[in-house]
Each structure stands twice: as structure tokens, then as C-alpha cells.
């Protein structure tokens, strides 16, 4: 079996998906047909027509709108407002990400199978029994908590928190923190479950306790990846924080909302430029920090 597959890959160009039986295999045709069907269905259902997009009318509307945007309004009060909004957006994303890390770290150790009930650390324990069940309960609870946090989108969380604590930046921080907490919890959990078992085994052989294994065998392996994922999510969050204000949660989004609603298109362009600069800076900063850490 093995030698045959090896031969096969030697004969053909080792591409993914190569040697799967022709270009027009039944699977490919099926996928293609399904895609076309989905397209036709969407095209009809969304009550739009792609021709409408390129019709003179809608192109004109878009051109008119773009003309209204230019030139950006660089007067002092607008610039000052944009700067303030930018810093506020940065603050929201920063605090939100920190809160997410807090949530993820406090839950994730219960949500990774190999730390809480199975795998190398629990080899010696009986496979069945109330002890194992008791260990599985926090696992399931943590997993489903993370799922709930992650499933609800940031914007919906923001709506909910605006209802709970009122308008302002704080609901934005909470929304980001809660949703990103779920996402980071999942990502961290995957890292923890993928951990290299050899250091754990050697620690176990020296008689280390589970806590010691966690601190000397597992955490040193996973921390760089935790940091990398956190920075990555921070990049995502800065973009989200810029629009959270559309539902009343502070930052640049609030100013954008006002500018759009009051037809202040020139100010809108200024704010968009501010988002662009902020996002670019954060991307570079995050890439720099990642290089430093890993």
C-alpha cells in the first residue's frame, strides 16, 4: 500500500489533488454544478442584478458619491476629532484584546482535553469512573462557554452591551473582549492540544507533578504561539474597533456614523484616511513585535 502510493507520487507531479482521476471526475463536475446552482439561486434571491451594478444609473450614483468625498476635510477641528477618535479606537482595541487574553487564559486550561481529563497526564487513571466524569464536566462547560462567546459576532455583543451599560467606549471594550476571548480560547486550546509530548514524558519520568509539568513542560512551548495569536487578533480587533461605533460603542465608528448620517462626506474621507493610517501602523507594530517574540 505504502509503496504503491509512493510510486504514484513519484510518477506524477506531486501536486495536491494530483492523480485523483482526471479533470472531469464525477466529484469535480458535482462541485461545479452545485456552485452554478448556488450562484443562480443567489442571483435571483438577492433581488439584485449584476447588470444593475454596471448600469449607467448605479455607476453614476457611485461616481457622484466619490466626487462628494473629495477633497478630504483637513480643517483643524476635524483633524483634532479624527485624532481623538483614532486614539480612542486604539484604546478600545488594546483593552479589548487584553480582556480577551484574560478570559481565554482563565478558561483555556479547562478547555483542552489533554490537560483536563485525557492523554499523557492521565494515563495512570482508570478510564471509566466518576473521577473522569467529574473532570470532563469542567471541560464541557468551558468548551461550550467559549463556543457561545465566539458564535455571537462582535457587533451583536456591542448591541447587547450598549443596552447593558449604556453608550460609550466601555461596551465596545466588553464586546471585543468577550468575542475575542472566545476566539482566542479556541485557538489557545488548539495550541495546547497540539503540544509536543516528549518534554512532558521526560518530565513525568523525573517525577514531576502535573502543575510542574504545566509550568515547565507545556507553557514554555505554547507561550510564543499564544503571543502570536494574540497579536494577530489585535490586528483584527483594531479593524472591528473602528466600526463598533456604528452601533453606539465609541471610537472612530461613532464619528463615521455621524459624518455619514449628516452627509458630511468630506469629513468621512478624513476619518477613513485615519482608519487606514491606524490599521497600517498597527499591522506593522504587530509584525515587529511578533518577530521580536518568536
Amino acid at each position: 500500500m505504502n509503496s504503491r502510493t509512493a510510486l504514484k507520487t513519484c510518477e506524477t507531479i506531486p501536486l495536491r489533488g494530483g492523480g485523483r482521476g482526471g479533470k472531469f471526475g464525477a466529484k469535480n463536475v458535482l462541485v461545479l454544478a452545485a456552485t452554478v446552482a448556488l450562484f443562480v439561486w443567489s442571483y435571483r434571491g438577492a433581488e439584485i442584478e449584476l447588470t444593475q451594478l454596471f448600469s449607467r444609473d448605479s455607476v453614476q450614483q457611485i461616481v457622484i458619491y466619490i466626487k462628494k468625498l473629495i477633497p478630504p476635510d483637513f480643517s483643524a477641528p476635524v483633524l483634532h476629532g479624527a485624532l481623538k477618535g483614532t486614539i480612542e479606537t486604539f484604546a478600545i482595541s488594546f483593552m479589548g484584546t487584553l480582556m480577551a487574553v484574560g478570559i481565554a487564559l482563565s478558561v483555556v486550561f479547562f478547555a483542552s482535553r489533554n490537560l483536563i481529563y485525557s492523554g499523557l497526564l492521565y494515563e495512570m487513571e482508570p478510564k471509566q469512573g466518576w473521577k473522569r466524569t467529574a473532570r470532563m464536566l469542567p471541560y464541557l462547560a468551558a468548551k461550550s462557554l467559549l463556543n457561545v462567546l465566539r458564535t455571537i459576532p462582535e457587533m451583536v455583543w456591542a448591541l447587547i452591551f450598549v443596552f447593558m451599560v449604556g453608550l460609550g467606549s466601555f461596551p465596545g471594550v466588553l464586546a471585543l473582549g468577550v468575542h475575542t476571548g472566545g476566539v482566542l480560547g479556541k485557538l489557545f486550546g488548539e495550541v495546547l492540544e497540539d503540544v509536543d509530548t516528549q518534554p512532558i514524558e521526560s518530565l513525568q519520568a523525573t517525577g514531576a507533578t502535573r502543575m510542574q509539568i504545566l509550568f515547565y513542560g507545556i507553557l514554555p512551548q505554547v507561550l510564543p504561539q499564544f503571543v502570536a495569536y494574540t497579536l494577530y487578533r489585535w490586528e483584527v480587533n483594531i479593524r472591528v474597533a473602528a466600526v463598533l461605533g456604528l452601533v453606539g460603542a465609541g471610537g472612530l465608528g461613532q464619528r463615521i456614523h455621524i459624518a455619514i448620517s449628516l452627509f458630511l462626506e468630506n469629513q468621512l474621507l478624513t476619518l477613513i484616511i485615519a482608519i487606514y493610517i491606524l490599521v497600517t501602523i498597527v499591522d506593522y507594530l504587530s509584525a515587529y513585535l511578533r518577530r521580536k517574540v518568536i
Partner: protein, 284 residues
């Protein structure tokens, strides 16, 4: 034998970086705490506690009456339709721009090494196109899809159409960037082999470049489609159709049991799309 073995563990050279980083981090933390108006106690004060309780108790039981569910059927389908058409437009935008923004295709690499030596005009023209494509892509993806949706709602009116456009433009920028990265990451050797056989550029592209990149293309595009489903579900918050509009309406009317139903629908929809996309990707 008796001499201690020097440690092989690499020690990083002493720099100022950790101190500087800590100082900046603390500064950012304190300033952000103040600016973001963080008051954890608000949640537990009488008013906040009342609101939290009102929300949580209002959510149960979810509104599963046929009346409501049948009304939500169309927005759910609309969400999927928006995401699909949006992704399609994103591919249409992203693919050509991604090609033009590929370093190895436009300005360097084996395709151009013979041609561009000592022809400064041609070279600078190529560079201009390359940077233009990159700039457009980065502009498209730096503006969040929400802002795009908001602007398109202003430009072409309410409904699913601005949602499709917003996803198309914002995701077009992301897809274009990733496409160009995939193109830059292809293995050079088949290309060189083709070149040494005397294949022209178009042939090299179609027989050497494209087959290598295609599986990654499809896989990443499917991943983006998953994201687009999530995005289109909430784009309605700014008036671009789909489930989001319903969520906002229910939220504003304080019908929290409907919110819970909508969130459940959202969950099922996202899970279904994830599953479908994972199956298709496994087939690649």
C-alpha cells in the same frame, strides 16, 4: 572530561527592548484604561445589574413560534445569498489585482529576468502598475466592510445590494493580497523547466504557475466565504439586508427572546456553512 560543558542554550543579547516594551505597554495600558472609560463596576451597579437581568431573563424562552420563524426564513436565505454573490465579486476584483500585484509575475523572478535588464522605461512602467495594484488592494481591505456597507447604502440605497458590494470590495482586497502571496510562493523549478523547454510566458503561466496555485486559491476562497457568511449576517445592522437587520430590530424593540432565536439561527447557519466548506476543502 571533567570540565563543565558550556550551555548550548542560546542567550539573547542584552538589549533595551524589554524595558522599553514594558514602559510603553504600561503607558498604553494606563492611557487606554482612561480613554476607553472602563468602569467594571457599572455592570454590577444597580442599573447595570437590572439591565443584565432584564436581558438574560428576556431571552428565555426563545421565540420559536412558527409565525416568527417563517418570517425569518427569507432573511436567512438572503444572508447566504449576499455572502455568495459578495464572495464572487470579491474573486472578480481580487484575482486580476492580485495578479498585477504579484512581485514575481510583474517585476522580478525568472519570467522577467531576461527582459527587464537595461530597459528602464519598461521596468518603471511595470513597477508603477505593481504598486498601483498593491495600493488599491490595500485601500480596499483597510476600510472595514461595515464602512463600505454604510457608504454603499448611501450610494445605492437600502437592501441586500449594498451588502453584496461591501463584501465584494472589502474581501476583494483581502483575496487579492492572499492570491498574490500564493503566487509568490509557488515552486520555481517547474517554471524554469518550462522556460528551458521554450514555453512562452502564457504557457508558463497556465502550465507551471496556475496548477500549483489553484488548490490554495480555492481553499482560501472557501475560507473567505465562511467569513463572508458571518459578515453578511451582521451587515444588516447598517441597513444592508439579511439577518442583521432583524437582530437590530428585535434588539431595539427589546424583544430579547427573538434575539436569542436569531442568534440560534445564525449559529446553525454558520455551522452548516463551515461544515459544507470543510467537506469541499477535504475533497481538493
Amino acid at each position: 572530561m571533567n570540565q563543565p560543558v558550556p550551555s548550548l542554550i542560546h542567550r539573547s543579547p542584552k538589549t533595551l527592548f524589554p524595558y522599553l516594551f514594558t514602559a510603553l505597554f504600561l503607558l498604553a495600558f494606563i492611557d487606554s484604561w482612561r480613554r476607553a472609560g472602563i468602569e467594571p463596576m457599572v455592570l454590577f451597579a444597580a442599573k447595570g445589574r437590572g439591565n443584565v437581568w432584564k436581558f438574560l431573563s428576556g431571552m428565555f424562552p426563545p421565540d420559536l413560534s412558527w409565525n416568527f420563524l417563517s418570517l425569518m426564513f427569507r432573511p436567512t436565505l438572503e444572508t447566504i445569498q449576499i455572502s455568495f454573490l459578495g464572495t464572487l465579486i470579491a474573486v472578480i476584483i481580487g484575482f486580476p489585482l492580485g495578479l498585477l500585484g504579484t512581485h514575481t509575475l510583474m517585476v522580478r523572478g525568472i519570467l522577467n529576468e531576461a527582459e527587464l535588464q537595461g530597459v528602464p522605461v519598461r521596468r518603471s512602467l511595470r513597477y508603477a502598475i505593481y504598486f498601483l495594484a498593491r495600493g488599491v488592494l490595500s485601500l480596499f481591505r483597510s476600510i472595514p466592510e461595515f464602512v463600505w456597507a454604510f457608504m454603499f447604502v448611501r450610494a445605492v440605497g437600502l437592501g441586500p445590494f449594498p451588502g453584496v458590494l461591501a463584501i465584494g470590495v472589502a474581501y476583494g482586497g483581502m483575496l487579492g493580497k492572499v492570491y498574490s502571496e500564493i503566487f509568490e510562493g509557488v515552486n520555481d523549478r517547474p517554471l524554469e523547466a518550462l522556460q528551458s523547454l521554450g514555453a512562452n510566458k502564457l504557457q508558463i503561466f497556465f502550465y507551471g504557475w496556475f496548477p500549483q496555485a489553484l488548490p490554495n486559491f480555492v481553499s482560501y476562497t472557501l475560507y473567505r466565504w465562511e467569513c463572508a457568511v458571518r459578515a453578511s449576517a451582521i451587515l444588516g445592522l447598517v441597513g444592508a439586508g439579511g439577518l442583521g437587520q432583524q437582530i437590530e430590530i428585535s434588539m431595539r424593540m427589546f424583544n430579547f427572546n427573538e434575539v436569542l432565536t436569531l442568534l440560534m439561527i445564525l449559529f446553525l447557519m454558520v455551522a452548516g456553512v463551515d461544515y459544507l466548506s470543510a467537506r469541499v476543502r477535504a475533497m481538493l
